[in-house]
Every structure is written in structure tokens, then in C-alpha cells.
Symmetry: none
Subunit: 209 residues, 4 copies
DNA sequence: AATGAATGAGATTTCATTCAT
DNA sequence: CATGAATGAAATCTCATTCAT
């Protein structure tokens, strides 16, 4: 951890990190296309344009590549959650949504890989996703509860409300991650986030003036 | 189709169907636990309490078992969609939601299998899920558009609205399918559907009287 | 352990045992020729005249084949030691020697394999050889000590004496196991054992009458 | 052979020899621990504290390192045999035994490596061990024959006698080489050699005076 | 029709050797 | 010279499928 000042060693470490990232990028692409279990190490190596054996100079095995991808993918999620802090205003929610959309789509293959494997593998779900998603849900629920107590929101169940917000978000993101829709442009991202917050706050039904 | 009324042949056909269903049930369970690609034919055979070779008397291979599961799983979805017809009132939406929740949870393993493999495999997505989901979404969008034109709904984008309804629905169903939450009791199903329609129609924010 | 009386299952168990023995015989031959580490599973399969994959229907892996050979090889050793009991007379020693020579040479390949791997691998030495050899040495030492106390043997160190008897025995057996000499005929075995006991008891030097 | 007296070249040759010896020492240690076939070039390089590639500046490959170790290990054996000349008296045999014990234990790892690989590999057995052991055995046999003809030894078969002497010697040395016993101290070596010659000449049985 | 042993293609992984730096 | 990353052939092991019983 404490970086050696030896510059040769430093360069070597950079080379290693770079190679690892190449492998992870290639692997995430193939994993995203075929799923972890159906991907062969040969395919990863071919995509990364190296020999199969070379993978093993940088990772202990196929699963370790997956875990490294999961690590790297959850890191920005983690910081985003930290930064989000408590969501207080409509604008803060909007900002968080746009940010989350942007993050997921900036790393489509690895996000898809993480989601897929978390869906299939209990360990990955627990270690990389469950606690983070729970934290987000809890924050949303707290936000709702606050406003319900406040009298600014109708008296809905905060847990269910939070879950549904996440579902609405998922409905926007998942098709892009899955590759059904093309990923939205930043402009579209903004509109989508607006629509969602709008729908969320005021519902679909016209207010009888 | 019913070529022979020969009762011996009929009994034979019944036996075959029964055997196939046993295999599909067993396979769906194991697929749901480990994913299609990571499931071995031996595991399927063990779960179905028969020899590996027997599988091949009833299916052409592992993939054909998966396709049969997909077929069987989408059939009730299909009829549900047909029956739903046009959704006109709050109660019709409510009924459809409850029914959909009930169906998914009545066949958890095969539903999970279908979703997982549709997420991973373009062919399955296309052949078994995409058109059906699209039809539901279109119906929802038409419903929204109708009421917007009507003046009973606020002027929201029907496509996005439909997508979000589906997301809210997914947020209720997916955790149960994934096995994160225990599946809701019928009573809870009802409450969830109520909450969802409620939130959907009137939003989260208190109406200023 | 409690044999089922189901005769079909019994036949199946016999088939399995038979196949396992075929594999172990083939493996012991190749191990004896090239050593465990340099032997490939393909060579074992070829020698056993079956496909590589078939090995894995009967053993969990290459090392398990080795351990099974070690088990089977040490079993007759074990019973021979039990039966030997305490060695009291010249004739009993003679008998034990002849028996030991016969046993080692009846299973040359597996004996060679066991010795080789015990020489290389601490686990195998401990689990399969060390305690057995120690028991033999202790019996020999006790025999010597008895006669020394008796006054029939000269006052030599029983431990060292025992060790040397084993060395003499080894000098007779090892070359045959290694394949340097042809294995001795039963007739030769008898003569060798005689010579050895003779040399052992009375030494090489002529007694001055 | 000494083509150049050029001192720069001489220094270079010394450096090369030194490097080779470092590699051989490291390799002999690892070979002794895991056997030649299970040792990787990386392990040798690590033990020698150099890069894998460096090995190939000094040896043509892994096997050549083994052969060099065998060469170096048999050299002192060879000179010891030369010097031993004909064994005539009890004291000469004693001296040879002590010397042989000392030599084997001074180079435990390479001795163990040589023995192990000679046991496994016919080429090494022939090229490095068989002829030397045969020479020792022949000398011992000639010694015995001489004394038998002389009337000082009992009329035993010289070949078998020689073989057994070697066995007794093996029984003393091999456990130390294998690492089962700690190697004996020089003091213990002396006692062992005494015991052995003693036992050898006069046998185990008390002479009836 | 049911069985499960046999198969062999293909997956993951290891490692002696090469070679650019 | 020294290095150690890259290589790819070969090793171990897996598993969908076939087929004799």
C-alpha cells in the first residue's frame, strides 16, 4: 500500500495495473455478451488480444477476473452513494438520478456483468450489490418518511414507495444495460429523469383544480 | 392434431407429457438455482430422479429443455395478456397487477429461469419475452394516451409512463423471483397492488386542497 | 459397508471395483516407469485402454488413483506384519523374509510406485509407510534385545541392529523393485533369505574354532 | 583446455562458474524437496534469487541443471572410490564407511536429488550411479573373496555378501538423506560405522567360547 | 423405455522456454 | 547480462451426448 519510491518498481506496477485493466475490459465485454459461465478464457484472451496463458500472469483464474470487475464497478457506485448524502429537494433527487444513469451507462459491459452475476450468484449479490442497494433504498425511504411526517407527502408506506422509485429507475436503466434500447443521450437522460420525478411526485392523474 | 383416438396411443402420449413435465420441473429448479450454463444434465437427472440418458428420450438436449420451460412459462402470460384486453378503470389495472403477481409467483423457478436466460440470450429474449412485454407496454401506453387525450390524465409521455409502470411492477416482483424477499402472501399482494396503483395515479406529493 | 442384498446393485459394485482395479493396475505400471509427477492421465487411460474421461467416472483425480494404489499395496504388508507376530526363532525370521520378498515381487509396479512416492511425498510416507516400517523395526529390535538379555546374542545396540537387518533386506529387494536385477526366482529367494540370516547371525568372519 | 590466460576472460569464467553453482545449489534444494518433475523453473529462480530468464543464460534448460547436479554430486564419490583402492583391513573398511557417510551428508540436497532421479530415470541411473555402485560392489566382493580364499572368512557367496554390506550402509544413510532422521553427528557416524563393521564381521550371535 | 458407463471435445490451468527491453 | 512478461503446448478435469444392455 505504501508506495515504494523506487521509480522502476512504480512503472512496473503501472504496467501491471494497465494490463489488468485491459483484461478486465475485454472480459467484461464478453461476459456482458454471453454471461460469465458461458464465456471461455480463450474468448477473453482473444478479445484482449493476448495468449490464454497471459491472463494467468495477472489473475489467479477466471473467477478472479469477474471479482475484479465487480470491485471496479461498484467503486463509483459507492462514492456516488456517499456523495448523495441525504436527498432533500426535488433537484437533489433529479441530480442523483442523472448521475446514476450516467454512471451505469459509462460502464455498460461491466455494469451488465455485475448485475447478471449478482442475479445468478448469491455471493456476488451479497458482497457487491445487496448492501449498496439497501443503503439507497433506506435513504429514499427516510426521505419519504421525512416528508410524510412533514405533511408535504401523502401518508404512503415509505418502504414500498422507496422500492417503487427504484423500480422506476430500473425500468429506465435496465433496457439500456441489456442492450434492448440504445443508451439514452445525455439530453434524453435529463428528460427521463425529469419525467420520472414528475410522475413520482404528482402521479399520472390530473389534479382536479 | 388428434390423429389417433387409439386409447393405447393416448395413454402413451399422456405418459410422455407427464415425464416431460417432471423433467421440466426439475430442470427449472436447478436452472433457477445455478443458471442454465452452470447446470449439468446430471444435476437435472438427479433432481428428476432418473438416469441421465432418460432425459434424451424426452428432449433432444439440454437446450431443448430450456426452450420447453420458456414455452410453458410464457403461455399463461400470453393468455393473461389476451384476457386483460384494454385496461380502462383503476380496478382493471388493479386486477391485472394482482393476477400478474400471482402468476409469476406460482411458477417461481421457471419464471426465474426464463427471465435469467432472456437477460443473457438474445434468442430467448426475442422469442419468448420481448414481443410480449412490448404488447403489455403498448397497452399501458394506449391506456395512458387515451386518458391524456381525455383530459383525465396529465399530459405525460405515454411511452415513458408505461415503461415506469412496468418498472414499478418489476420492483415488486423481481426481488421475490430472485429470492431476496420471501414471496408476498396473497394479502400482501393485494396491498402492494393497491399501493402501486395509488402511487401511480396520484403521486407521492400531498395535493394541496 | 453392509452389503445390500439387491443382486443388481451387487453386480454393479463388482463392475465398479473391477474397473477401478484395471485403472489402478495400468496407473501403477506407468507410475512405476515414469514416476507419478511425470505420468499424464492420458498415458494411464491409454494403458488401461479407455478414454481419459472414463478415469474420472471411477476416481476423483490423478492423486486419488495414487492413493488407492498405496492403500491396496499396503494392505498385504499390513496383514503380513500382523501375522508375523513376534519373531522368535531363526526359522520364523527366515519365513518372514521369504514372505516379504514374495509380496514385494508379486506387485512390483505398485510396490515401486509406493516406495517412490513415499520417498518424495511426506504425506504418503507418513500415511502409508512410516508407521508400518517402524513397527517392523520395533519388532526386530525387541527380538534382538530379548536375545541379548538372554545371553544368546552379543551385546549390540538393538536399534542399530534392527536398522541394519532392514538394510540388508532392502539391498535384496530394492534392485529387483527398481528393475536393475531380474526379480529372483522362488528358489533364489530361499537361498537369499538363508544367506542373509546366516550372515546376520554369524557374521562374515570365520570362527576360530 | 585452458585456452586463454587472458585475465578478463578468466574472471568472466569464474563469474559464470559461480553463477552456475548458485543455480545448482538452489535447484538441488528444491529438487530435494519436491522432486525434479514437480519443481518449476520459477521456484528454482526464486530460490536462487534471480529471474527465470537468467537460468537460461547459464543452462540450456531444466534438465541440464539436473545433469549438472548429478555430475557434481558423483565427482566426490568417484574420487572416494579411486582413493579407497583395495580394502584390506577392518580399519580401511571403517575409514571408507565414515568417509562415505560424511560425503553423502555434506551434500544432502544434491545427494537426495541424484538418488531420487536415478531411481526414476534409467538414463541417470546408468550414467551417474550404476557403474559406480557396481565398482564398489565389485571391490567389496573381491575383498570378501580374497578373505574366503584366505581362510579368514567363512565360505559365503561374495556377491551376496557385498550386496548386503551395501544394504547395511544404505540403511544408515538413506533415512538421513530422506530426512526421516536427523543426520548423524560425526561422533555418531563413527559409532555407526563401528557397529556396522562389527556386526558384519562377527554377526549378531554370541560366540560360544 | 430406462439405465448409466463410455466417450471425446473442449474448458481451465500450468509452466518451460523465448525474447524485447 | 539480467529481467520478467508473453507464449502456447500440454496437462488436468468436465460434461453433453451416445449407446449397449
Amino acid at each position: 500500500m505504501l508506495e515504494t519510491l523506487n521509480p522502476i518498481e512504480r512503472r512496473r506496477q503501472r504496467r501491471i495495473k494497465k494490463r489488468q485493466r485491459e483484461i478486465m475490459t475485454a472480459a467484461a465485454e464478453v461476459f456482458a455478451e454471453k454471461g460469465y459461465a458461458s464465456t471461455t478464457t480463450k474468448e477473453i484472451a482473444d478479445r484482449a488480444d493476448m495468449a490464454e496463458g497471459t491472463l494467468y500472469n495477472y489473475f489467479d483464474g477466471k473467477r478472479e477476473i469477474l471479482l475484479a470487475i465487480a470491485d471496479e464497478t461498484t467503486a463509483p457506485m459507492e462514492t456516488a452513494i456517499q456523495e448523495a448524502g441525504s436527498l432533500k429537494s426535488r433537484d437533489e433527487i433529479l441530480a442523483m438520478l442523472e448521475k446514476a444513469l450516467a454512471i451505469s451507462e459509462a460502464h455498460l459491459p461491466s455494469t451488465r456483468t455485475l448485475l447478471t452475476e449478482a442475479w445468478m450468484d448469491d455471493d456476488i449479490l451479497q458482497d457487491y450489490l445487496a448492501t449498496r442497494l439497501k443503503r439507497i433504498r433506506d435513504q429514499l425511504a427516510a426521505y419519504i418518511k421525512h416528508h410524510v411526517d412533514n405533511g408535504t407527502f401523502r401518508p404512503i408506506n415509505p418502504e414500498i414507495g422507496a422500492q417503487m422509485i427504484m423500480g422506476m429507475f430500473g425500468a429506465l436503466v435496465l433496457p439500456a444495460i441489456r442492450g434492448v434500447f440504445d443508451p439514452p443521450t445525455p439530453q434524453e437522460c435529463h428528460e427521463l429523469a425529469e419525467s420520472m420525478v414528475d410522475l413520482l411526485l404528482d402521479g399520472i392523474r390530473l389534479r382536479q383544480a
